[in-house]
Amino acid sequence: MKNGLKKFTEAVAEKILMFSSGITTLTVILIVIFLFKEGMGLFSSSDIEDGYVLAVNRENPVDRLTPEESMGVFDAKITSWKELGGNDEDILVFRLNDITNYADENSLGDELQFLPRVLDSVIAAQPGIIAFIPQQYADSSFTGKILQNGTITAKSFFDGKYWYPTASPSPLFGLLPLISGTLWISLFAILIALPFGLAVAIYMAELADQRTRKIIKPIIELLAGIPSVVYGFFGLVVLVPLIQQLFDLPVGESGLVGSIILAIMALPTIITVAEDAIRTTPRSMREASLALGANHWQTIYKVVLPYSLSGITAAAVLGIGRAIGETMAVLMVSGNAAVIPSSLLEPMRTIPATIAAELGEAPTGGIHYKALFLLGCILFILTLIISISVEFINTRKKA
């Protein structure tokens, strides 16, 4: 009897342990489901603000506008229908609050009950008009022409050069400025961090004595432990003014400061992984090199470094992964301009920073919200690729 109870307890314990270890898997699956469910919703959304339509005069031959075109029109960059394949007619932009220019308040009625009729007549009277109006006014009695709205496509997202998520009437969700900002900042950060990280790793593994190592190791750990907001804050109050003076910039918040801060943040990862890799070099290989008359430095760069190359590569790739996903520090120092950068000294904006900055203001379930979740998907996929390639590099090393 006692034995049976014991066996039962053992079995239950194992099941509980097994269940706990399944939770990480469950979490990853849930992350994928929630991120993609919300994110993919963007691609079936209308490219015009919810509940609104664009209407033109009935005689106008133009049937539809792309989001870029309608932004050009409403920003007064496109001024003639000819540019959009229509008649040689000036474009007259009309928003609902412009109605007072065409009709006095009395004719609209006390409760604006005549507004749809007045609106209809204004649109009918102006051959060059384009009106951005609520859908409810464009009912069956409406005599103007309603432009067909498209849906946001994968092409317009991945190939889009503009990120104007709150533009009206057509918000633009283009990935290019954000992904290029992310890559510029992360890659340059690794370019800064790699020489330093490698130097410290070699120093720790090859040169430093036991006592020095015991001092440096906790320092590296501490560097890894400082929260990213504190790095961001330090960058904001120290590095931003410094870089601004140094390069004589209009604003100091730039991709460069972001890269420097990210480089400092990526250092502990790079140092630890690279040092481990250097340490795995077999003693026999070093001794063979030394026995052939090579000195310590020659042994390091002819034997140790080539041998640990895959580990060092893994360190660099892991560092890039860290940099790509880092949010707060970059958000605070890199200026957050969502334009395709042409130099590292310009303000830039990364994917994580965009999510952090905009999600608070995006209404839940709206297209802006969905677009930010789609950015989350992109980020998830990017880091997944990086994590898989590190795994790949490590297994090849063992083989």
């Binding site: 330093f196 994580p352 839940t364």
Partner: protein, 286 residues
């Protein structure tokens, strides 16, 4: 012969210089924040609520908020993480389930913290209806720490020599008894060290709680786990980037940064002491 020696000297001095610079960067950051922050910190700063639109008063609600969130995430992550670590190291054979768990744990640890924020918002805040609250923030932070806790436990258990396990079995102990009476007590110091370090991580995270737990300003402390909180890292972020009067709230920002740094320093010192103390007492490997 001589040229060889010269190039070695140059290379080694470069390594020493670079290492010194990296150490210097840390002391620069620490020194800057400590010297600026120390002028602000006094008893009132730590025990009063903010006043005058974040330009006066203290940061007490933010300290408490961070405490609540950290404790909450520990409650989520530690039991699950330690149990998973035990399963992976002690029970699991090399089958597909364990391979899956390993891959998924590695993947989860590489997921950026802002993605956890998005996920927490979609699942805990919106779908489960917790709203911005301590519980939603703690769950999100807990899941974020989970891979770290698992890895720490796994490594601590892995370091224990197999002879202890076989000796215990030879005495007639079952697997569960062996784990409870022999393996866990031996691994505990290492597990504790890792867990303490992970607490430091959690207390400084901002991105995951941005949309799941925090508020810019709350006049009083939360009453239940379904209330919003203020938190130190978020507090530092808002008052240094988007406060009503940036210049006037700068001293508060320095003070907040110092408190955050102090937490990390204390946690690291405790972890190091613990490791040194137990490292001498317990030999895990022959």
């Amino acid at each position: 012969m001589k040229k060889k020696q010269v190039s070695q000297n140059i290379a080694f001095w470069i390594f020493r210089l670079f290492s010194l610079m990296v150490v210097g960067i840390l002391f620069w950051i620490l020194g800057f924040i400590i010297s600026k922050g120390i002028q602000v910190i006094d008893w009132d700063f730590l025990t009063q609520a903010p006043t005058d639109g974040m330009t006066g008063g203290g940061i007490f609600p933010a300290i408490m908020g961070t405490l609540y969130l950290t404790v909450g995430s520990i409650i989520v992550a530690f039991p699950i993480g330690v149990l998973s670590g035990i399963y992976i190291n002690e029970y699991a054979t090399n089958n597909w389930f364990v391979k899956l768990i390993r891959i998924m744990t590695t993947n989860l640890s590489s997921v950026p913290s802002i993605v956890f924020g998005l996920f927490g918002m979609a699942l805990f805040v919106n779908t489960m209806g917790f709203g911005d609250s301590i519980i939603a923030g703690s769950l999100t932070l807990g899941l974020l720490t989970l891979p770290v806790v698992i890895r720490v436990t796994e490594e601590a258990l892995h370091a224990i020599d197999d002879s202890f396990r076989t000796a215990s079995y030879a005495l007639g102990a079952t697997k569960l008894q062996t784990i409870r009476k022999v393996i866990l007590p031996m691994a505990l110091p290492n597990i504790m060290t890792g867990l303490i370090l992970s607490i430091g991580r959690v207390s400084g995270e901002t991105a995951p709680i941005l949309f799941t737990a925090v508020a810019y300003f709350l006049p009083k402390l939360p009453d239940s786990i379904f209330d919003q909180v203020m938190a130190l890292p978020y507090h530092l972020y808002v008052i240094s980037t988007s406060g009503t009067d940036l210049a006037a709230s700068r001293p508060i920002a320095y003070g907040t940064a110092l408190v955050l740094i102090a937490i990390i320093l204390v946690i690291n010192i405790i972890a190091t002491l613990l490791r040194n103390y137990f490292g001498k007492k317990v030999k895990t490997n022959f």
